[in-house]
Symmetry: C2
DNA sequence: GCGATAGATCGATAGTTGTCAATGCGTGAG
DNA sequence: CTCACGCATTGACAACTATCGATCTATCGC
């Protein structure tokens, strides 16, 4: 344990800090896992694709194509929103859901691969 | 909602078949969800990053950095292998795990975003 | 104000999953 | 052959999650 940081054991810093260099810290892993957990459900993937395709949909428009009850749809939109993938805009009695702009590329890729 | 290109159902295949066009079928959604489910665990993400960083690791080398029991590590490697993300090569008493070559780009992206 | 509607929340339940101890199965060293 | 070691499998248990019915809150039309 001669020197400094325990997490980085390479004695000489290499020229190319590749992404796969660090073994992914606990916190990062947890955050990433939560994001992927949000995508790990068929209903949420279909929900995401519906929103991504339409640009904007209210919850009531999602119940029928997903063939799930209204509380269940609300549950899934909440999880996707907590993961930071979609955001809801309340206008009158309706809540319009859309993909978070900064995550649009990620979502498109997630649905397309 | 005039939106000409939105309802794009013309029989003639256009030049750009966008991903968000179809609402993601049941089967595709299920397959995709399984893949993301494999990534929806912090331990598996760290395991993946360890393998991706080292290129090749045997199970016994994973137990300590993951701080999980041997059966648990075996459980996680199996799930990642079932998802087609890693593959195991048995050499003697050891099984060496590595990222499936055709999925390397996907894995790197999954760990990096 | 009143009834109707959109959506969130609560409570309950069935199914899934992460974890470990114990055990089984090959393989290599002696 | 026998023992030690690496790894997979089994069984059990706790934690989490998807789902729905019932209920509550907020908003609109009348």
């Amino acid at each position: 344990m001669a020197a400094g940081s325990k997490t980085l054991e390479s004695p000489a810093a290499p020229c190319c800090p590749q992404v796969t260099d660090a073994p992914l810290g606990d916190t990062e892993a947890a955050v990433l896992a939560q994001t992927y957990a949000a995508l790990a459900d068929p209903v949420r993937l279909k929900l995401l694709s519906l929103i991504a395709a339409s640009g904007e949909m209210c919850s009531c428009e999602l119940v029928e194509p997903l063939a799930k009850s209204q509380p269940t749809v609300s549950h899934h939109t909440r999880i996707l929103a907590d993961a930071g993938l979609i955001t809801g805009d309340k206008r009158g009695r309706w809540v319009y859901w859309s993909v978070v702009p900064t995550r649009a590329a990620f979502v498109r890729q997630a649905l397309g691969s």
